[in-house]
């Protein structure tokens, strides 16, 4: 049973999504919810199995690599699957609000969302470069139509730009895959390492293409330009998934490549360069977030900034940095999903998200504002929260390796995050003359308010659950300790 769990985790949501397409609006919302629940259960079993027995591998159809396709659930994959399950469950419940009634739009949402979920699981479980390429494409191609669900008016341009960048990234990545295949004669992550480490021009080019392609997909500065319009205009549930999971998947690949196929690369300069890109993302994203006039764009630019922290792993490269970077990814995923869902509730109630016109929302939207506040603590990296534990680990790594400039980046990044978050939160408390809202929408139902709140609480709770999570992650691959 256990060795089939990876297959189930991938194909349950994939097939569920396809079937939803075929069913049309029939079976809504029971069918997709049942699929989501099964997927979550399956992932939890899988994660439990990885936690107690270590990595699980499954060769599909019994064909071993290099001939067959191999699915592998190790610690890193397990924590990412877990994050996807947690955020996915919350988003699925939330989506009952805006996408719960049978309609063509709801059909598309659920079908695409389940496809996206399956593709993400497949991506985390893939153990060879080509498989990763396919899943990466699946993720992109189910994410872009989801952005379009917000209505054609504002999202076509955003989706097109997203598509352009995504395709460019894919091409770059595919080029890297092709060169690697030429060099190594295999695409299995565990087998291509020696060929990529030989230091030749071709190997360098392959590594550069792989890293570059993923960086574009991860929206790391200066390739971030597609992210804010796409995440800022998509429906709330979609934005949450995109920011918490989809871009995170790309950064995950970067961590995966660096510690496995590219581990032999003596890349001090590349590592510092990646770190510098991370720092640039932190500063630029935060400053842009501070300058936005719309709530959702603030949250979107915050994603640009927060992804930068994960890149600080590369120059620090000790096991504390590994723990810190991954934990940051998890904490950010949970907190950012909460922020986007809460923002969605604000928009549902007020009808817009122009910051200057928001005020006094703490009463009608108490739960959502509360959720926003809790998640913000983690985003700012203040204790007690998951974001703080991650920041502590990264800071310790910076001090331990004597690279104090990264410590300064972390500290300043936290202050910048506080600046743009507080700028938003103050509108909850501001009492200005005039009615709070001109034409108020319905107060968000419990189904829409609680997922955001629970995610926000989880973001805080993650300040206390680092030990078991990091035990599941299982330490920096290849580290001696």
């Amino acid at each position: 049973m256990t060795e089939h769990l990876p297959v189930l985790a991938v194909f349950l949501p994939l097939l569920g999504g396809v079937l939803q397409f075929l069913l049309g609006s029939r079976g809504l919302p029971v069918w997709p919810l049942a699929v989501a629940a099964l997927t979550v259960g399956c992932v939890l079993l899988l994660v439990g199995a990885v936690g107690s027995n270590g990595s699980i591998e499954h060769a599909i159809g019994g064909w071993d690599p290099p001939l067959g396709i191999r699915l592998r659930a190790d610690g890193l994959a397990a924590v990412m699957l877990l994050l996807t399950a947690v955020v996915g469950a919350a988003v699925s419940v939330y989506a009952l609000g805006p996408h719960g009634k049978a309609s063509p739009q709801a059909t598309h949402f659920w079908a695409l969302w389940l496809l996206l979920w399956g593709s993400l699981n497949a991506l985390f479980l893939s153990a060879d470069l080509f498989n990763i390429y396919v899943t990466l494409e699946l993720v992109t191609l189910s994410a872009i139509p989801l952005v379009l669900l917000a209505g054609p008016g504002k999202t076509v341009a955003a989706a097109l730009r997203y598509l352009q960048f995504a395709l460019f990234g894919s091409l770059l990545y595919l080029l890297g895959v092709a060169i690697t295949y030429g060099l190594a004669g295999s695409l299995d992550l565990a087998l291509v390492g020696p060929a990529l480490a030989d230091g030749g021009l071709a190997a360098g080019l392959a590594a550069g293409c792989l890293i570059g392609g993923v960086l574009v997909k991860a929206a790391i500065v200066p390739c971030h330009v597609w992210l804010p319009p796409a995440h800022g205009n998509a429906p709330a549930a979609v934005s949450a998934v995109l920011s918490a999971l989809v871009v995170k998947a790309a950064v995950y690949l970067l961590l995966r490549f660096w510690t496995e196929p590219l581990a032999g690369l003596s890349g001090t300069l590349v590592a510092q360069l990646l770190g510098a890109l991370g720092a640039a993302a932190i500063f630029y994203g935060s400053i842009q977030a501070f300058r936005q006039e719309r709530l959702k764009l603030v949250v979107a630019y915050s994603t640009v900034a927060q992804l930068g922290y994960m890149l600080l792993f590369f120059p620090l490269a000790v096991s504390q940095a590994w723990d810190g970077a991954v934990y940051h990814g998890l904490a950010h995923g949970v907190a950012k999903a909460s922020l986007f869902l809460a923002t969605g509730n604000v928009i549902a109630y007020v009808g817009h998200d122009r910051l200057r016109e928001l005020r006094g929302l703490d009463r009608p939207l108490a739960l959502s504002v509360f959720a926003f506040g809790l998640a913000s603590v983690s985003i700012m990296g203040l204790p007690p929260s998951g974001g703080f534990v991650a920041k502590w680990l990264l800071l310790s790594a910076a001090v331990e390796t004597g690279q104090w400039w990264w410590a300064v980046v972390l500290i300043i990044g936290g202050l910048l995050a506080a600046a743009y978050i507080i700028r938003v939160l103050r509108y909850a408390f501001l009492q200005a003359p005039g009615p709070a809202v001109d034409v108020q929408g319905p107060v968000p139902s419990a189904v829409m308010a609680w997922p955001a709140t629970l995610l926000g609480l989880l973001a805080i709770l993650m300040g206390f659950t680092a030990a078991p999570t990091l035990a599941l992650l299982g330490g920096l691959p290849g580290a001696t300790s």
């Binding site: 006094g360 204790p383 703080f388 800071l395 310790s396 408390f429 501001l430 300040g463």
Partner: protein, 492 residues
Amino acid sequence: MSALYEAMPLWVLMTSLVTAVLVFIAGEPWQRLRVVFNVTGAVLKLVLVGIMLRGVHHGHEFAVHLPLLPDLAIVLRADALTMLFATLSAVLWLVTTIYALAYLEHAPNRARFFGFFSLCVTATMGIATAGNLFTFFIFYEMLTLATWPLVVHRGVSRSMTAGRAYLQYTLAGGAVFLLGVVLIYALSGSGDFVAGGHLRHLADDHSGMLILIFVLLVAGLGVKAALVPLHGWLPTAMVAPAPVSALLHAVAVVKAGAFGIVRVVYDVYGVDLVQSLGLGDMLAVAASITIIYGSVRAIQQTDLKRRLAFSTVSQVSYITLGIAVGSPLATIGGLVHLVHQGLMKITLFFCAGGYAETHGIHAIRELDGIGRRMPWTTAMFTLGAFGMIGVPPLAGFITKWHLGLGAVSAGQYWVILVLLASTVLNAVYFLPLLHRVWFRASRQEDNGVGEAPPGLLGPILFTGVASVAAGLFAAFAWSPLGWVELIVEREY
């Protein structure tokens, strides 16, 4: 039973954390229920603190470990120093709750106010019971965040400006502090609070680093302790409602900073190490400058609460000064001021709130003749002011006496000059005020309103009398002074 008993610091935290959650859940409509939660929580906490106080007095040390990372744990602990701060907070929380209930009787957003109010006390309790620097930092930052909604509670643009200044200072301070904490852990592998410190073995090889870390830590803590030039947020934050100001100035925020400095000097570095690195003198000079500067600025203020705020800037640094001088007697003076200043300053702020709420008085010149209309409040105000000046046998005198003796025994005679100058300055900004309230004719027409309502007056009388008692009965073992002598006995 014993495990439950051992975990007392956790229960003490929980009493106010649970109260906060319940108050948030009850929300705005359930006013009576919220009051019940608030008062029950405060009383329960007082009882638990009492039990803990008894245990610690008999030499027991409570400790709770919550492992967080392989080599890092959240530690809640109660030693004698903890209990000094925890008891002060528990007592004043109950009193301030009663005061705030009366003060905000018809104000909007009370659920939000009392929710964050309880969170604020949770954080303060966490700071008191923190057993290592990491835990201390967690609650230190939690306090920053929990207090902000209280500062901006009124929601007008002046409060928002004050809130922004508050966060700019405290978050920047917190960031600097965090860097210091990480460095301590990296250097010594532990940030535990151990009586006498645990860094002495590093003094030979890493003295430069130790000095740098000390500066980072004290700069971070100095923001909340309002050490000049890091004090800028405190006077602007007085736009908050009176109970918040009272809490901010007497127990929560500024005391958290001062208490942190005490912990760093005594339980991380150790007095000997601080003195041998020459950091004591540096700290003493910073504290002295703050004492004088705060007093001078207080004289210039025309707004009552602003004058009190600058007075706080000055008075809190007595604590730092006592610690920095470092002799046992000076330490006693510094630590006992943690309680004395709290009692006196909360009385003064309660009175200021009473004046504002009953007669709409904010500026000092409007206070003329108020003594005849509000004799009880004004009497307590007078006692608080005399205490601040240091008139024997009031609490402030006990502080200054020990500080002076301690300075002499440490051979630092210049501290006496600082104390004298500060006493004169205190008199300059309090005595004319007292003259106004008692001897000038009233400017306002008599509108038939007299004393503050009982909900305000009760707490005022309680804290006023307590501040007098702290001075009068200082010789008893259960007085603040008696307890502080116990702490110092155990420390040296």
